[in-house]
Symmetry: none
Subunit: 453 residues, 2 copies
Amino acid sequence: MSRTQDTHRALELTDLLCRHPSVSAEGRDLDETAALVEELMANAGFTTQRLAVDGGAPAVYGEQLGEDAYTLLLYNHYDVQPVDPLELWDSPPFEPVLRQGRLYARGTADNKGEIAVRLAAIEAVRNERGSLPFTVRWIIEGEEEIGSPSFAAIARDHATLLHANACFWEGSVGSGDGRPVVTLGYKGLLAVRLAIRLLDSDAHSGLAAVLPSAAWKLTDALTHIRSPETGEVRIPGFYDTIRAPTSREQAVVAAQGNGIVEALRAAYAPARFVDGLDGAALRERVSFAPTCNIAGLQTGYTGPGMKTVLPRDAAAQIDFRLVRDQDPDEVFEALRAHLEAGGYGDIELTKLTSAEPVATDLDDRLVARVTRIAEKAYGAAAKILPSSPATQPVLAALRRSVGVTGLAAPDNPPHQGSAIHAPNEHIRLEELGRSVAFFRQVLTELHREMRRE
Amino acid sequence: MSRTQDTHRALELTDLLCRHPSVSAEGRDLDETAALVEELMANAGFTTQRLAVDGGAPAVYGEQLGEDAYTLLLYNHYDVQPVDPLELWDSPPFEPVLRQGRLYARGTADNKGEIAVRLAAIEAVRNERGSLPFTVRWIIEGEEEIGSPSFAAIARDHATLLHANACFWEGSVGSGDGRPVVTLGYKGLLAVRLAIRLLDSDAHSGLAAVLPSAAWKLTDALTHIRSPETGEVRIPGFYDTIRAPTSREQAVVAAQGNGIVEALRAAYAPARFVDGLDGAALRERVSFAPTCNIAGLQTGYTGPGMKTVLPRDAAAQIDFRLVRDQDPDEVFEALRAHLEAGGYGDIELTKLTSAEPVATDLDDRLVARVTRIAEKAYGAAAKILPSSPATQPVLAALRRSVGVTGLAAPDNPPHQGSAIHAPNEHIRLEELGRSVAFFRQVLTELHREMRRE
């Protein structure tokens, strides 16, 4: 098939997948989407089965034996983020629409587009050769956007199905400048809900002179967690285990070019970046800096006009991105102790999700191998990202149960600015085609490269 | 007329007024209720007219010349709060019903019952004497529950109609222990919306390593406004003009008894009051402490489950209750300068409303006069509240245009627990009768007291 045909097929499959509103946070349409995924995998030559734990959305698993026993494991997810605020979408989020060379819909970039790319490449190689050169195993889960609550149990219970020589995760987000991106890992994540109620009911705001304020208590607790002056996390020990980047890691960050920063500038238009940084110093933060983020905070009256109310309760959701050698369980316990020590023990803490940081070492042979294939397919020097700023809880589970770490290869059409997790999420058609081309080369050359070594 | 007859007449008038669903927030039945009020005032001997500004509900004004030129101005409002949640009412809110010595309906306590009390007392004195001993002017507006948007203009345009030697506001809410409450004023109010947007769209929370956070910026700004450690407002000059309570003021607060605190404890069940205070020290805060309250704060995702998002924007509504000699306009400008100086100049400030604090000085002769009448009518020591914790924007408007301050006298039948602004609002008949008795004495004795001085 030609590259145009490959692009068309990937587009068709993306469109098909994105018509399903598989919002895991809302439990919407998950079985139906899993059924579609299973059907598409079976059509592409996989023997499929569903792997699930009680009450969880099913993961779809497929295996396709190749000419060689060398085995590549693929990971994706068919679920998507919620769509709110819906009013900021220019077209309905589950009715994919092409505008100016982009396909708009929730899930196009994260990551139904990549499922489509991999399917299109596998179909193309099978059409050309009759079979795959090596064995491909593929697991596509339905709970990634809610922290993959079932995946650790699935990986533990079905570890033998998931063993592999190499592993490609959900794809690397490209920088849009024609250079392929290879991502070696993900940060850890600890998401926590903080909730406090100090009164039996909302009160007239004049009573703030004498009644305690849940809103202030929560705001003050957030300040106790993170310094307004320095932006540093104040939890004792938070930074103690962190290792500085090695000189090789600094070198690959320096070689990335500033595209990732320029893409962020174009997509989000910040007046300035964190700490006023730019260039390599800022990019080192992307891979090596932990974060403490407020994902949501709600208290009192936030409608039109005004209401002079003293709210009875307040709640926030915060998330920490953790870097290598930080442990989310230890951070959670340190957070609890820190809040108690600061007089915030009446704030109820709920651990929403956690995952260890996991990355393949820059010196691993797989890194050099995939980088070579990507540079050949793209005709450009690869960018190596020692760690994504995002998290893959499943990666930690797989390292524990299966022993693979893996990486994210440049077979993913979106780049920075695809509005992932945001309104008007989209992919660009020109990158869809290149992604299929890269993955076709992986399916033939990864195996040959392996044998030469 | 006997006290029983007085109670009956006040009950009849309350019932009549409360059958009108004059919900100003919904623009319901306002002209019809104004017509009824005007008719009732005319029947009680007033020469009436309507005062209105374009588009606003009319205020009803009446004047009744007395034997002496001494003039008392009365203020009330005929509008009421919305009734939702309707399902929590035990009987229809606009069909007054007597149950166990209480009349239930929206507006009984706030404040149609007081209109009825004043009418009944005026009718009784006129029946007894043929005319009133001194002149009474009365303004009853229809927009109090929506912030009195027309009142300042009405007071400015018709200042000569409103001049008076003394002024009684909407009545003081009694404490239910048989002691009359005299309230000398209200706090000022400055309500401000803070809004900030730092990104063109929401981002993946992993990008918090490099992208600025509107949520943190707002939280940090709130901390810049008010110290988490001390709870003090950090705006330079905020406390500079505040005078500590005088020893006389401290004495009247000490003499209040702790009923107001116990009522708050019963209603809201706080684990502790502000700063762990109780008793007179806490009650001093009710009258003399300014506040800085978060009425609402919203950013990011606050729905069920979780979403790891870096919100593009954040907004809060805060309100300051201001005490004597604090000026809301000055506080607003100082807030703006303080935020700019702290690096928070990118937060957009909107003044939602403001009103100056207004109170009659404890040493004003009117206070002693009304207190003496109240103690005689009730047969119990009065409680003097130097300032309500709430705000009356109309009071500030009247002081500006007319020059009166006035006070809230105990001619109002409700007490704490009358479910003002809530379902099952009611008044107690035993207090209706006592309120009419008190106001009858005001109508005859206020004048005599005045002449003796």
